[in-house]
Amino acid sequence: STRRGIATTGRLNPKVNPGLKKRDELEDMLEERRRSSDARHALRCYAPAVYKGLAPREVSALRGAVLQSDALQHVIGQVSAECGERRELVQEEAAHLLDEMAHRLRLGTVRFFAYVLSKVFKTLFRSVRVNEEGVQRLQQAIQDHPVVLLPSHRSYMDFLMMSYILYTYDLALPVIAAGMDFMSMKVVGEMLRMSGAFFIRRSFGGDKLYWAVFSEYVKTMLRTGYAPIEFFLEGTRSRTGKSLTPKTGLLNIVMEPFFKGEVFDIHLVPVSISYDRILEESLYARELLGVPKPKETTSGLLKARQILREDYGVMHVYFGHPVSVRSLAQGRVKRSQYNLVPRHIPQRPCLAAQALVGEAAFRLVRLQEQAMVLRPWTLVATLLLQNPDGMDLPVLEEQAAWLRRLALSFGAFLDWPDCKPCREVVGAGLALHKNLARVSGGRVRLAVAETPGVGQTAEELAFDRAVGVLSCASYRNQILHVFIRPALLSVALRTANSSRKDEVYTCFNFLWTVFSNEFILCPGASVQDFEEACYLLGKCCAVQESQQDIVMSEGGHATLAFLRALLDPFLQGYQVVCQYLCKETEENLRENKFVPAARNFALQLILAGTLKCYEALSSDLQKNALAALVQLEAVTKVKVIPTQKPVHARL
């Protein structure tokens, strides 16, 4: 059935019960590296299969094609007319922008990386497991259609690993959209450029010329089948372990050549990359608590050498089924809308196309989530977070086994070795994450300080604890997508006034809306999600459904209580944000002041002992809560003209 799968996955049928999905086997790709010479690997004959319609093109020819393209020439003409600048100057500016942006993929550099990364990955990871069937599917897709690779983004390792895998399996190397911040790392930036990265400015909203250069560059590579395009739908690394709400800008660009008939089809390939341990683990927790992200510098990277001494367990890379843009657009987007204007003139996509791209973005992120390999430790971390006072080891093991069954019945892609006893599996996780959980006297608890250290203030202690909790939460967050819909229903069941389905749904829908920025909930799919939640809870015998009602089953208490507890930190965190906004006395609150003030408010509650939930300190949660309140029109954003800084005014 997998063959047919390729043809039909394009429709991204959300009705399929994820629990029934067949998944490919994963193989360790480092095994071969441990047996044979890395140098030979780096120097081996590399001859990937390419797109069948490839118009062979050198990097320099690509540059010319972009700069001379009708689309860019059109915008250059416009810009030159608008600002009264000579056309040649604007043309020069465009060339400059392109040079700043463009990759300079060189096989030599790739080989150098292949050698170094072989060494690095072997040191860091016990194994890197890849679904080779997915690689084969990708290889076929690359030959048939222009391909866009869409990996999840949890670590800097992601795109290095992607290119490394593609090189290893003799697949065409991708060109990768990277944030401009890398450019500041002089040598490394250039190295990345030569291994296929191209750099885009983080924000260029109004800059027409920049947008034109950028989008034409990407589209030219795509149309000609120059190389697979790779970018991160989430836009940036997720610091929390949860998937981020997708950005649609680049997805819009790469889908346009299909809408305009410039290619027959485009295949979007979601790739799920998951880590036993994330390299940036505690760094992320600190960032969430307001310590700014360290600027990417080469010397900073060198300092990261100490990272190499640690054990990061196993890494999993799962290449999903290619999603055909043609199938997605079938019956939804009328391509003939582009018939009446020359295609090089920028045209705002019709509402149907915009909606399609938005929907596709969410679905693709969900596909990423669903193929993310979950390790037993994520379940252990979840249980430990729900029991801040610690658990007896046997109880933890027993509960982990229970949770495993629940997760599997909800369709989790859980990598739990069947042959090993539960004790060993839980033990392995605890051993790998000894910095986060401590076992003493047969009891397991989070590795957070109980009492302040010498010279440590209460605030510093709370901060330390929060780092531990948020680090641990980043593992729990990896499994949230499995439980989120049933969890929302569990809370709704508790809060609804009656067990009537429509009332429960009303509560569900409210929570669903509130948390639509926090979790990947596809816009407009709340009814579907409700049905899925009912189905899953019914399946594990936690609720019983009748025509009218939905009620807890006799044995459903434990499941529902667990699911409610899963959402608890988020509910508490959002409540804290609301409390803060209600207490805030300043009438006009500047947006950039909001996070520090909300964090400080939460910290005071924690210090006062009235709040136990350290996750309320997370800036990610605070921003999501604010976004939800804006969406619900409880808070409005006002632009203040003179400073151009958005400001919040409470209603």
Binding site: A7, G53, G261, E262, F264, K334, R335, S336, Y338, N339, P342, R343
Partner: protein, 582 residues
């Protein structure tokens, strides 16, 4: 009625009743398995085609063992009895108009040449056929017929050469009235030639090749040469907005026509003078041209003529790939120096053309062919699976032709094109006349296919060709066609702002429960793809009933309403009830 006309009024005697063209001309595989074209009418007639079998088997995955022969003769008893309006028939007789309800004649006029029409006939399936055939002899006969049809509420369907490929000649299933096929074949006279103004006045039933031959005898030509000109009629060209191969010199039908006379239920429509251009509101000719028999019968036409060209020269150019070929055609169009005809075949068609090469007569020719191939593929580095060929036809006075030829070859050289000889060019054009016969050969061996066309702006030609061809391949696969289809195209006309593109599509249907349905779905999806890629609904085949569903999209609701209101005024009782177009 002269005896000459009686034979002419029974074309079924010399033409196939369930296939294309003359009965004596057909492709077959002889006992040795060699391809052969029978008869004496064409340059290819009587020749052995040694490579046809291999190409055929390799392209379609067929075997000559598996045959699907057609029903040999028409089973007359399967033809439904005619539904005649007796007083109408009586009055026709009184008026002296020839008429017949002979079943063979009715079946012959019940179809065009769409795949489904021919496929059904080969299987001996007869659907709704006209109840009566009438042969008016002149304009006044038509006036009488139309008057009587109005009087007795009879449905009239004009019939010219019967070469429609848009289901235009199919009797609407929902038609309950008596259906009368109005065969214009007896109105085939040249009424006068005006050498001062270079015009000719002709009855609209004349067949293309007769018109050209007779004009040639006087030293003139119209230059209108659609691929169907052996069989199609002047009235049919007007009714479908036909296009000729040499339109670059002579223009399409709308450029050639000076005056049209049409009989409608409201009366006769015509202009009062033959001025070369008028500003008298929207041109009423444009209500007539493309009306596809829904408004009336075109009876007489005045057309432009030209002195016969002093010199004709064929030519061909090989390009390394299709893209270069299209760029060259675009440049030729930009410089407005297109020869009388210029056509670009893609690689598949190039190979197809090779499969139809007759046995070479001497070792020397085959040696030369080998040398050419070596030169192009090895010395010039053309990839045999990418290269493609343009065929050219130049016309005019000798000196100018040679000059023109040089100009075109110079442009071609800029796009990597190499001159590939007159012979290849001439063979290319000959093929256009025999290619329709090939479909019948395919149908003998489980292969069904069709051609269809569109027009498209220059900047979309390549994208449209690629996407439509790929769509065909993909749709066939999804619908269970076992062997990849033959999916190929060529650019057949160039204009200032775009080109006409022709697709050929055929597949082996062994193992399919309902091959016709599969075929129709794939053609439908291919048309959707054409429209999505900025192509038109039709360049010259017309809409008929086959493409009606897209008319609203093609001309907008208001546009469709305009056409409908004309129909309502001209023919309120739907006497011309073939239900084409609208």
């Amino acid at each position: 009625i002269t005896s000459h006309h009686i034979t002419d009024s029974k074309p079924q005697d010399i033409m196939k009743w369930n296939g294309w063209g003359y009965s004596d001309s057909r492709f077959l595989f002889n006992k040795k398995g060699q391809g052969e074209f029978t008869g004496k009418r064409y340059r290819l007639s009587g020749m052995i085609l040694p490579s046809l079998k291999d190409w055929f088997e390799a392209t379609f995955g067929t075997s000559l063992q598996h045959k699907t022969p057609a029903t040999p003769t028409l089973n007359v008893s399967a033809v439904p009895p005619p539904n005649l309006v007796e007083p109408f028939v009586e009055e026709l007789k009184v008026a002296g108009v020839a008429a017949s309800h002979d079943p063979e004649g009715r079946v012959f006029r019940s179809h065009g040449h769409c795949l489904h029409e021919i496929f059904a006939l080969r299987e001996g399936r007869i659907g709704r056929v006209p109840d009566l055939v009438v042969w008016p002899n002149c304009h006044n006969d038509v006036v009488k017929i139309v008057e009587l049809a109005c009087k007795y509420n009879v449905c009239l369907m004009p019939y010219g050469g019967g070469t429609s490929v848009s289901s235009a000649l199919e009797c609407p299933l929902e038609e309950t009235r008596s259906v009368v096929s109005l065969d214009t074949s007896q109105m085939n006279r040249i009424l006068w030639i005006d050498e001062k103004n270079l015009t000719v006045h002709v009855e609209a039933g004349i067949i293309g090749q007769d018109l050209e031959r007779q004009l040639n005898e006087s030293g003139y030509c119209t230059g209108h040469e659609p691929d169907s000109m052996e069989f199609s009629s002047l009235g049919g060209w007007v009714a479908t907005r036909a296009s000729g191969m040499k339109k670059n010199i002579y223009g399409n039908i709308e450029d050639l026509v000076v005056h049209i006379k049409m009989v409608t239920p409201r009366g006769v429509i015509e202009k009062s003078c033959q001025g070369p251009r008028m500003s008298t509101g929207p041109d009423i000719h444009h209500f007539i041209m493309g009306s596809e028999g829904t408004l009336g019968v075109v009876t007489e036409v005045t057309m432009k003529i030209r002195p016969l060209p002093e010199y004709q020269k064929y030519g061909s150019i090989v390009f390394p790939n299709f893209q270069q070929g299209v760029s060259c055609l675009r440049e030729v169009a930009r410089q407005r120096c297109a020869p009388a005809s210029i056509r670009l075949m893609d690689n598949e068609q190039f190979q197809f053309g090779h499969a139809l090469k007759p046995q070479v007569s001497s070792i020397f020719t085959s040696f030369l062919d080998g040398l050419k191939k070596f030169y192009i593929t090895k010395f010039k580095g053309f990839e045999p699976h990418h290269l493609c060929v343009a065929t050219l036809l130049f016309e005019g006075d000798r000196e100018k032709v040679l000059q023109h030829e040089k100009q075109v070859y110079d442009i071609a050289a800029k796009f990597g094109g190499l001159a590939a000889g007159e012979d290849n060019g001439q063979r290319g054009y000959m093929l256009t006349f025999v290619i329709a016969y090939l479909r019948d050969l395919g149908m003998d061996y489980y292969v069904i296919g069709e051609s269809f066309e569109t027009s498209v702006p220059w900047d979309r030609v390549l994208d449209l060709c690629r996407n439509v061809k790929e769509r065909i391949v993909r749709e066939c696969k999804e619908r269970g066609v076992q062997f990849p289809p033959f999916s190929t195209c060529r650019v057949t006309q160039t204009y200032d702002a775009g080109a006409c593109v022709y697709f050929y599509f055929a597949f082996n249907y062994r193992g399919l429960a309902d091959p016709l349905h599969v075929y129709e779905r794939v053609e439908h999806e291919a048309r959707e793809e054409i429209l999505a890629n900025g192509g038109s609904l039709s360049h010259h085949h017309g809409v008929g009933k086959l493409r009606k569903e897209w008319m609203r999209e093609a001309v907008s609701t208001v546009g469709l309403g305009m056409l409908q209101s004309v129909k309502e005024y001209v023919d309120p009782n739907n006497i011309f009830g073939n239900r084409n177009l609208l």
